[in-house]
Symmetry: C2
Subunit: 371 residues, 2 copies
Amino acid sequence: MPDGRLRAPLAPGSTIGILGSGQLGRMLAMAAARLGLKTHIYCEHSGPAFDVATHTSKAGFEDKAALSAFAKVVDAVTYEFENVPLRTAGHLAALVPVRPGAKALEVAQDRLAEKTFLTGLGIPVAPFRPAASDAEVRQALAQIGAAAILKTRRFGYDGKGQVGLAPGDDVAAAWAAINANPAVLEQRLAFVAELSALVVRAADGTLAFYDCPVNVHKNGILHRSSVPAALPAEDLAHARQIGAAIADALDYVGVLAVEMFYLGPDAAAAERLIVNEIAPRVHNSGHWTIDACSVSQFENHIRAVANWPLGSTERHSAAEMTNLLGTAALEWQTLAREPGLCLHLYGKREAREGRKMGHVTRLASKASWML
Amino acid sequence: MPDGRLRAPLAPGSTIGILGSGQLGRMLAMAAARLGLKTHIYCEHSGPAFDVATHTSKAGFEDKAALSAFAKVVDAVTYEFENVPLRTAGHLAALVPVRPGAKALEVAQDRLAEKTFLTGLGIPVAPFRPAASDAEVRQALAQIGAAAILKTRRFGYDGKGQVGLAPGDDVAAAWAAINANPAVLEQRLAFVAELSALVVRAADGTLAFYDCPVNVHKNGILHRSSVPAALPAEDLAHARQIGAAIADALDYVGVLAVEMFYLGPDAAAAERLIVNEIAPRVHNSGHWTIDACSVSQFENHIRAVANWPLGSTERHSAAEMTNLLGTAALEWQTLAREPGLCLHLYGKREAREGRKMGHVTRLASKASWML
């Protein structure tokens, strides 16, 4: 299937290849298993996903022989993170369907490409300037003329590769702090809330949407996601439309998360939602769907990848997901005792600071607002 | 730990050994993974559980060397079916905690031992007589003097090893039909409904109860389980009490299912519920707990086995679970499209008649009655 398309749903018993061995790969593998699908994790190092997969390959993303062997024994490939090298995805896509496709990877791997792509779709982003040297950062800061954030174009996540910068600050120090990597300077926005659109798009273009969670970050890392969001219905509908426009433009297959800032009801309707970034994969802010929906984001991603009909994204409960970072996971005995709490641990050995060790979901009756 | 007790909860990262590689072992392994526990499946043949386990051993239950090697690399052992040989459980229990214990196996493996045990606890069972020859069957039928069922004492499940028998019937043929195996003749009861008590008992004796589902069998195999049950609250409370009495008497650890006949409100209160049989394990009639509860029967079984605090057994939705037997599973594409349906496939290749290939759970708002 060199065109990257599956013509028919993959029958139960087929094998889904997953690039990456972290907790997202683990939860994808568990969702695939629910549907009677086997999984094959491919990663250069073992990790949480290895423990629950049917098969595993420990090999590098540049190892073409290993990639070809992997492609031969799987029926479709997906990935748990957006930094899969384009060459890797391209090599595999010549042999087996790879979903979401290369275009989504290309756009999401580079903040400049991403912002340019979004702007081209007429989707608001924070004012930004590319900067490839400290002189360009200085110039960009003068043009933006307000508090800003300097972010590397590539390989930033969970607040890494970022530094705050305001007019008058020491630009050289900021430039050094991001290791002189090509960057984007974007204006820091005063937002009322952060939210994400969680869209799933089937191979035939069918779209489905989970309720948009409100997200709270701490130190640049997601701390909590809650549904339902206490935002006006029209703004939530608009967030879904933005997600849909991006998914359609990328001819996307699978779950797509779009992180946004909500500037509040005082802003003009079309400018209330500003896209922060795109994650072409299942997303931490959708973990609550495991416990609050009949079909989780992980299962719907697998369904899309396997060319299955999408499952319902409806929510049966209100939900609040909290990440267990680092030593917070050591409280598992206390958490395990809490009535109604859904505990998820990823099986990671070392509780390093800021490391995502697990999460908990607290459920309440459907209409509750829980913040 | 030769006394079969764990003193402290098994930390995440520990390994739960599971005897048996079927769908129950598979769902136990997936529940363990949610809690960050690794799994090791031990079975003489590969099966659905192998696909999701961290480690697997393919070896016989009589292979003492393989059992000893297995015991060395796991932190506790449980089983997915009651026909684990007592010698196997005993060999393992000398090396590692085995839960639920040998007593539960001993009682549940033999219908005569089970009925004698229940009668000893004052729990009503259908009138019965042991029968070790066709002459004894004839005598037992005369004593019961009503329509009856001849059941082998051992290795019966899903309606296998059973034959109906009424006064005047050809006893020799019935005796031949069960291969002249030691048997129990029990009176056939006219019941209004079948239900099961789903009890979970922690190592410290703490008890928790899932709502009792009403069960519908077809051809001796479970077809459907629904909660909430439209039975009087006092009878449902009585069903839970029966489950608790059995679990306590067996010093049980884990999930215990007790299948019962409900004779209806016209019978005397103490005689409305008649125990049919005990399953010392997670049970098909509790599969709805995966989708309708924060903590499923599988997770609570693992929690008990790992000496964790029990999780809440509360239900957030009404639920109706239907088994997918044989070719019914071939309808997966239609089922996958049904809004709100939770689809579970076990990854079995061959859809033989009557084989449990998967199940579906339909959810509705909590208070609905769905039959």
